[in-house]
Symmetry: C2
């Protein structure tokens, strides 16, 4: 049984302002929740699940304080879900602690104005696949802890460090960094070998990378194509570049 106060609280977490104030976020669906619970049980704040899910996951939840768990009916789940079709369980987690960033000896990602939540989440998931541990995001990127983004990360949200910041300031204070800008008129990625240290920069879905930031990138890299599409989706481009230079 879910209370009106709980419904209101969870709905408020659809807004970045409330997520920032409370330091928590919403995850939905058995796949992501099971993964987060197994990896980071201490971050669980509250869990709303159907009796079927609770029975099927008895082993996973047996060490969780029962006060955190609310059994709900499908209709109740619909009231709190951010999905079109709610999926057995919804949980509120604390955001993982912010860990320090270091660009030395590692390949990182930089996102300049990625707006679409699906793209944002897919890029985080893709980075996790290729072992990229850090993503620097401009302040106008979609919030990584928005419900749709968390959903698209498929659990990778807690394994990749994210830093929202002013990209020009960050670049100014890290002047030796080798930056690889995804662009339409650069060197073919097929001519590049693995890159052990540096930052791959992916720009906004329609406008690309800001000109001022592009000027600071020593390398412009391009995914060669023989067809007629004008461009690639930002998450697909990130995946192709990481597959080529990130391994």
């Amino acid at each position: 049984m879910i209370t009106k106060l709980q419904v209101k609280y969870i709905q408020s977490l659809g807004q970045k302002k409330f997520r920032d104030e409370t330091g928590v976020f919403v995850a939905e669906g058995p796949k992501i929740i099971n993964e987060l619970l197994a990896a980071l049980p201490a971050l669980l704040v509250s869990l709303y699940a159907t009796s079927e899910w609770i029975q099927a996951n008895a082993a996973l939840i047996k060490r969780i304080d029962a006060i955190k768990i609310t059994e709900v009916k499908g209709t109740e789940l619909e009231r709190i879900s951010f999905l079109q079709t709610p999926h057995e369980a919804l949980a509120v987690f604390k955001k993982p602690a912010a860990l320090p960033f270091s660009f030395t000896g590692t390949l990182s990602l930089m996102l300049d104005g990625i707006q679409d939540p699906g793209n944002m989440g897919t890029i985080i998931r893709t980075a996790d696949w290729f072992g990229i541990r850090q993503i620097v995001c401009s302040n106008d990127c979609a919030d990584a802890f928005a419900p749709k983004v968390v959903q698209a990360t498929m659990g990778s949200i807690v394994r990749v460090r994210l830093l929202y910041t002013d990209l020009m300031e960050l670049v100014a204070t890290n002047s030796g960094l080798q930056m690889y800008a995804a662009a339409l008129n650069g060197t073919s990625i097929n001519q590049l070998g693995p890159v052990r240290e540096g930052i791959v920069v992916i720009g906004n879905e329609s406008k690309g990378i800001h000109p001022a930031l592009m000027e600071r990138c020593q390398h412009r890299i391009t995914i060669p194509g023989t067809g007629h599409a004008e461009s690639l989706n930002a998450a697909v481009a990130a995946g192709i570049i990481l597959a080529r230079i990130g391994n």
Copy 2:
């Protein structure tokens, strides 16, 4: 000024049944509409656009019969749009004529149960980037002419041939075809050279490729990753594979 009958007609095109009966589909936003109008003006059925768009695109529309063009206000566009934020123009186009498929001497894509409209559209756009001309889709794939899919293709929908069919039947009647299944336990794509003839098979977002279809694939191919994500997004995987073996 838009009539109730027009609103009802356009809204009905959100349903596959009506798209199939009428043979038309909806495209939205200046980028896609401009591209479709420039490439295939004869396919335009009707166009609803703001006065600003009409003025800015005078050259593009000067040979189009004025009866097809309706000037609308922003509020009217909201009533017919399938987007959260309507974008200056919405158009109804005839579907391009179905062209014959041939698997000889070319690399094609096969999609087994791609459900998400965004993934479907992104895969079509990615195929177009890499010069892939044909995509075979299982009958349970998202309809390529659904508004959200068309949007995600960014115009590539009219440049890539699509065939919805029973995949097992198609494979049975093309027994010599070399099929490359995207899987989690196959040969690394980094060990493959360009593939000049064959079909890359991408499976459903959560279940992958049907076991019966997988059995018919001579090659299982895998995108190597050093991180911890369980899998990649279907469209990202398709992009990475095509970047490696499709060029």
